[in-house]
């Protein structure tokens, strides 16, 4: 177990270091999120939505921004290995699950970094009132993890395809549909301060994330070694 963590950690550190030097994924996600936020804030602003609709609509908008930002850059970690011809040596050097673990951690960290910047900005610009801040953090963490684990395996799949185009979002969005529904409901519940609603949404997100993790562990070697 420790060996696995050390090796996966090495993959993660390598990805993070490369990313810090090129900033391709950071730029893609960050710029996408900021431009969309600016567009939403400009066209809708804090006062155009009726008070009663706010928790729901603002939660939905927030997650749509996060989801599409993820679509803009989270395939990077795998696609880059193929495009710069480093995948073969990685395949021959590291165990499949080590690669998966490292990439998953990388995608999770990128997403959480995005949220750390995006969510406070969104709250301020859109006047989004959240009654249970602790609950929101839990939803963002669990939602971010499930989003990362799903996009990681899809990115691994599309990296092996010969023509990629919009394949990443085409393949990801159907799989992410239940997650999107759960996190929007969860965020709405924490905004309204309903502990019960937040709890059930959180349970759904966590179990979806758990199922995706198990299935990925079983299937990833078949994708990576093919």
């Amino acid at each position: 177990m420790w060996r696995f963590l050390a090796e996966a950690g090495a993959v993660f550190v390598k990805d993070l270091r490369t990313e810090l030097r090129t900033r391709v994924a950071f730029n893609a996600l960050g710029l996408f999120a900021i431009t969309t936020l600016a567009a939403i804030s400009y066209t809708i602003g804090p006062y155009r939505i009726a008070q009663a609709d706010r928790p729901y609509l603002l939660s939905a908008l927030l997650w749509i921004v996060i989801f599409f930002a993820a679509m803009a850059g989270l395939d990077r970690s795998f696609v880059k290995e193929e495009d710069s011809h480093t995948a073969a040596l990685l395949r021959l050097s590291a165990r499949p699950l080590v690669v998966w673990g490292g990439k998953l951690l990388f995608n999770f960290v990128v997403l959480e970094l995005l949220m750390v910047i995006l969510v406070p900005l969104y709250v301020v610009l859109m006047g989004f009132q959240v009654l249970s801040v602790g609950g929101l953090i839990w939803i963002l963490l669990a939602g971010g993890y499930t989003l990362a684990v799903t996009t990681t395996i899809v990115a691994a799949i599309i990296a092996r395809a010969s023509s990629r185009g919009a394949l990443f979002s085409v393949l990801s969005l159907p799989l992410l549909l239940p997650l999107l529904i759960f996190v929007i409901q969860g965020t709405r519940a924490v905004a309204e301060g309903s502990a019960q609603g937040a709890g059930s949404a959180l349970r759904a997100v966590v179990s979806l994330g758990g199922v995706m993790t198990i299935v990925s562990i079983v299937l990833f070697p078949a994708v990576w070694n093919e």
Binding site: A6, T86, L92, S93, R95
Partner: protein, 210 residues
């Protein structure tokens, strides 16, 4: 450490969607031997290497790794025993030489990683303290680094696909010495090349036709 590894392959054929690369290739290479794979461009030398190291599945035919008397090594574990240099396999351009080797040492779980990485770099004539990213390397330096990566974990099997490409005469001399040393140490070496001098290192040969 076991008594080296023998690779046997029989009647390998590979077809990509529309194109047949080769129809039936067989051979065998044992410890202390160098198998030279030769043939014109496009005859499938590199493809054969990727099949032998387990990256690509053959359309037909079998490859076996035998470890002395211990019997056959399963395909999933081949990678623990081999090092490879190939034109189509790159290192990480955004990292410097030492960072690259350190990464491969860590994911392979090499002991004394730091010492081994530095020793490996010095062996191929690169300065471990140089902090240039690989993208700033000349092709010759990149080739040296790839060789350092291949021998980093002291593998029993070494795949060398055009190892002398882009090396200066000094580098080629040093490569010859390296291959000779590995051979004497009982390593199994597969060498794909069109270089007449490198072909001479071979103890046996597989010639692919175009």
């Amino acid at each position: 450490m076991s008594g080296g590894i023998t690779i046997e392959f029989e009647e390998l054929a590979k077809r990509f969607d529309m194109r047949v690369v080769f129809r039936s290739v067989s051979g065998r290479v044992g410890p202390g031997e160098v198998l030279a794979i030769t043939g014109p461009n496009g005859s499938g030398k590199s493809t054969l290497v990727t099949i032998l190291c387990g990256l690509v599945r053959a359309t037909r035919g079998t490859v076996r790794y035998r470890a002395g008397s211990d019997g056959e090594i399963p395909r999933e574990s081949w990678r623990d025993h081999l090092g490879i240099v190939a034109p189509a396999m790159s290192l990480y351009e955004e990292l410097d030489a030492l960072e690259n080797l350190r990464f491969f040492a860590l994911v392979r779980g090499v002991r004394d990683a730091e010492k081994r990485c530095r020793a490996s770099l010095e062996r191929v004539g690169l300065d471990p303290e140089r902090k240039t990213q690989v993208r700033g390397f000349s092709t010759g330096m990149h080739q040296r680094l790839k060789i350092a990566q291949a021998i980093l974990h002291d593998p029993e099997v070494l795949f060398l696909d055009e190892p002398g490409a882009n090396l200066d005469p000094a580098g080629q001399g040093w490569l010859e010495e390296l291959v000779g040393g590995q051979r004497r140490a009982g390593k199994t070496i597969v060498l794909a090349t069109n270089d007449l001098r490198e072909m001479e290192w071979g103890t046996s040969r597989v010639a692919l036709s175009g």
